[in-house]
C-alpha cells in the first residue's frame, strides 16, 4: 500500500499469509490502489485482497503430479520431448540430452539435430516412420541407432510419440519419450545367439542319437539271428550223425526228415530277420536324401567310430580332395557305412595287438572325385588283411573275420551303398591290410574335374 500511495498507481502485491481470528491461515494477494480527488490529490487508498488458497492447492497438486511424472520417467530411464511439427523445434525434459551424449543440456535442439545423430543408414527409415505418423495422425514408435556426441559410441534408442491434433485436424505437436535400449538390444542379441546355438546342439544330439539308435537296432536284430542259427546247426548235425551212425535203425529216416525240416524252417526264419534288418537300415529313403558335405559326414562318423582308437596306437589320417563336390545321400545311412568301415578297420588292426613287433597301425580315410558325377570314398587299414576265403564271401551275411562277429555289418553297408546307386568293394592295401572303397553320386552337375 505504501508503494501504491507513494507512486500513485495501483500495484499487484505479493503473496501474504493472514491469520484469521479462529487461527486458520489464509494465503492471499493484495492489490492496493490509491484514491485521488478531482484535483489529483491522493486522498486514500483501497486494497483488494484475493484469497488464493484454492490456487495454492491446485499448484501443489500440479507439483506433486510433475514430481510423480519425473519419478516415472527416471525409473523407466525415459526422457520427455515435445516436438513442434511446424517449426521442428524440440523442447526436452531432464535427461533427454544426456541420452544423445551431451554432458550438459544443449540450448537448442530440433528435428534436424536429432536426425544428424541417427546413423546415416537408418535415417531414411526413421524419416519415413516420422512422416507416416504425422500424415496418419498416429502414434510413432521408432527404434534406431544413434552416434552419441561426446564419446562417439553407437547406441540403440527407442522413441514413442503421440500426436496432438488441433480442432482443424492438423497435427501440431508430438509428445513423447525416448530411452536408451542398447543394453536390452545387446541382451536380445546374446539370447538369439544362444538360442541358435542351442538349436544346433539339439539337432546334433538328435542326429547322434538317431545314428547310435540305428546301430543299436541293427545289433539287436542281428542278435536275434543267433537263435535260428543255433537251431539250424544243431538240427543239421543231428541229421548228419543219424545218417552216419544209425542209418538202418527203425525210425531214423523220420528223425532225419524232421531235423532237416526244422533246419529249413529256421533258415527261412533267419532270412526274414535279415530282410527286416536290411529294410530297417537301408529303407528306401529317397525322401531323406539331401545334399551333404562328405567330409563333414566323415568327421562326425569318425568322432563316434574312432573313440579309443588313438589309445590303441592307431594313427588316423584324413585325405579329402579339396575340390570334392557335395553328395546326395541319406546322412544317417552313409554315416552308418562310414562308422562300420572305420570300426572294422580299427578292430582289424587291434587283432594283432599282441604281436612282438606290431606294424604301424594306420587308418586312412580319403575321398576323391572319380568322374563328373561320381565320388569315391576309401577306408584303408594296415591290419593283417583278408584271407582269400573271407575275401570271397566278405559281403555275405553271417560271414565274419572277427571273433564273435555276426557278419552283418558289411552286408548292410553294401545294401545302403547300392540303395544310393553306388558300389562297395574291398581290395588289398598296398601298405598291407585292406582298403574298402565305395562310390556315391555327386550332387553337383559342374564341369568334369581332372580327377
Amino acid at each position: 500500500m505504501g508503494l501504491a500511495l507513494r507512486e500513485r498507481r495501483p500495484v499487484s502485491g505479493s503473496e501474504v499469509v493472514a491469520e484469521r481470528p479462529d487461527g486458520t491461515r489464509v494465503p492471499f494477494i493484495a492489490y492496493p490502489a490509491p484514491l485521488e480527488n478531482e484535483a489529483g490529490e491522493v486522498t486514500g487508498g483501497v486494497n483488494v485482497l484475493v484469497d488464493i488458497s484454492q490456487r495454492k492447492k491446485t499448484e501443489a497438486a500440479l507439483r506433486d503430479s510433475e514430481a510423480r511424472l519425473r519419478l516415472a520417467l527416471e525409473a523407466g530411464q525415459l526422457a520427455f520431448w515435445e516436438l513442434n511439427v511446424v517449426t521442428g523445434s524440440i523442447t526436452r525434459g531432464p535427461g533427454h540430452d544426456r541420452i544423445f551424449g551431451h554432458e550438459q543440456p544443449v540450448p537448442e535442439w530440433d528435428y534436424r539435430a536429432f536426425l544428424d545423430q541417427v546413423l546415416p543408414e537408418e535415417r531414411a527409415r526413421v524419416e519415413s516412420a516420422y512422416y507416416a505418423a504425422i500424415q496418419h495422425r498416429t502414434g510413432a514408435f521408432i527404434e534406431c541407432r544413434i552416434r552419441r556426441l561426446l564419446d562417439g559410441e553407437v547406441r540403440w534408442i527407442e522413441l514413442q510419440g503421440q500426436p496432438q491434433v488441433e480442432p482443424g485436424g492438423r497435427v501440431v505437436r508430438h509428445l513423447g519419450v525416448v530411452r536408451d535400449i542398447t543394453d536390452r538390444k545387446r541382451t536380445e542379441t546374446i539370447l538369439r545367439e544362444k538360442e541358435a546355438r542351442l538349436r544346433d546342439l539339439h539337432s546334433e544330439l538328435l542326429h547322434v542319437s538317431r545314428l547310435s539308435a540305428a546301430g543299436e537296432m541293427a545289433s539287436a536284430l542281428a542278435h536275434e539271428l543267433n537263435q535260428p542259427l543255433t537251431a539250424i546247426s544243431s538240427a543239421v548235425r543231428a541229421a548228419q550223425r543219424t545218417l552216419l551212425v544209425a542209418p538202418q535203425r527203425k525210425g531214423s529216416a523220420g528223425e532225419i526228415v524232421e531235423a532237416l525240416d526244422l533246419a529249413a524252417e529256421q533258415a527261412v526264419r533267419a532270412g526274414h530277420i535279415v530282410r527286416n534288418l536290411r529294410d530297417f537300415v537301408a529303407r528306401d529313403g529317397e525322401a531323406d536324401k539331401q545334399i551333404e558335405d562328405l567330409s563333414k559326414l566323415a568327421e562326425e562318423a569318425g568322432a563316434l567310430a574312432l573313440v579309443g582308437a588313438r589309445e590303441h596306437g592307431v594313427e588316423v589320417r584324413s585325405e579329402f580332395d579339396p575340390q570334392l563336390p557335395p553328395v546326395l545321400v541319406d546322412r544317417i545311412q552313409i554315416q552308418q557305412v562310414l562308422l562300420n568301415l572305420m570300426r572294422n578297420a580299427v578292430e582289424a588292426m587291434r587283432q594283432d595287438e599282441n604281436d612282438e613287433a606290431p606294424s604301424a597301425r594306420k587308418l586312412t580315410l580319403s575321398a576323391r572325385r572319380l568322374g563328373p558325377d561320381l565320388v569315391e570314398v576309401a577306408v584303408a587299414d594296415t591290419g593283417p588283411g583278408l584271407s582269400p576265403e573271407i575275401a570271397a564271401r566278405l559281403f555275405e551275411p553271417f560271414v565274419s573275420n572277427k571273433p564273435g562277429g555276426m557278419g552283418m555289418g558289411l552286408s548292410i553297408c553294401r545294401s545302403i551303398v547300392e540303395a544310393h546307386g553306388g558300389r562297395l568293394w574291398a581290395e588289398p592295401n598296398a601298405e598291407g591290410g585292406t582298403v574298402f572303397r565305395f562310390t556315391l553320386p555327386a550332387a553337383s552337375t559342374e564341369a568334369p574335374s581332372s580327377a
Binding site: A231, S234, A239, R241, A259, L262, A263, Q266
Partner: protein, 67 residues
Amino acid sequence: MTTEDVGLGPKTVHVIDDDAPVRRALAMLLRSAGIEAKLYASGPAFLDAVQDFNGVQCVLRTCACPA
C-alpha cells in the same frame, strides 16, 4: 553252458532254452547221440519239474537266457 557229468546212471540231459526251435534242435542232436533230452522253456520251469537233483547229471542252458 554248464556241464556236470557224474558219469553214472541213465544218460539224460536237461535242456533249458527260451526258444522252442532251438530246444527241439538240441533234443534231436542229443538223441542222435543216444542221449535222452528233457526240455524246459526257463530255469524256473526246470526247477519246478525236477524234484530230485541227485539224479541230474547234465544241464544245458543258454547263457543269454534270463534266470
